[in-house]
Symmetry: C2
Subunit: 75 residues, 2 copies
C-alpha cells in the first residue's frame, strides 16, 4: 500500500536522522562509528539515509558505539 510504504520510509528516515544526530553529539565520523560498531562504512552511511531496516541487535550495537541508550535512537 502506498500509504504504508510512505510511513515505512518516514520511520526509517527518522531513525537514520537520530543516529546521525547522536553521532554528531559524539563528535565522530561515519568511518569511526563503523569501526566502533563493527559495521561496514557503507552500511552506516545507508542507515543514516533511512535505507536500512536495522534490527534490534544492531540498534543496541550502534547505541553502545555512540555512548547513548538504544531508546535514545527511537524518539
Amino acid at each position: 500500500v502506498a500509504h504504508e510504504t510512505a510511513k515505512r520510509e518516514d520511520l526509517l528516515q527518522r531513525f537514520g536522522a537520530s543516529v546521525r544526530e547522536a553521532r554528531a553529539r559524539a563528535g565522530i565520523t561515519q568511518e569511526k562509528l563503523a569501526e566502533l560498531a563493527g559495521m561496514h562504512r557503507t552500511y552506516v552511511s545507508s542507515l543514516e539515509r533511512g535505507q536500512r531496516n536495522v534490527g534490534v541487535v544492531n540498534i543496541y550495537v550502534l547505541a553502545e558505539a555512540l555512548g547513548c541508550r538504544a531508546s535514545d535512537l527511537l524518539t
Copy 2:
C-alpha cells in the same frame, strides 16, 4: 564468537520481555496484538521469546499497537 552470540541472545530476550510486559499492561493477548499489528500470531510468539531480530519498522508498528512509545520497548 560465543560471547557475542550470548550477548545477541540476551538483547533479543530483553526486547521480547519488554514487548510481553507492554502487552500485559495493555491487557491484550498475543492473538490480539498480532491482529492489531498486522503480524502473524506465531511471529509475535517467537519475538516475545527472543527469537526474532525485529527491524526498526516493526518496533514502531508494535509500539503503536501496544499504545506505547517505540523507545519504551528498548529499555
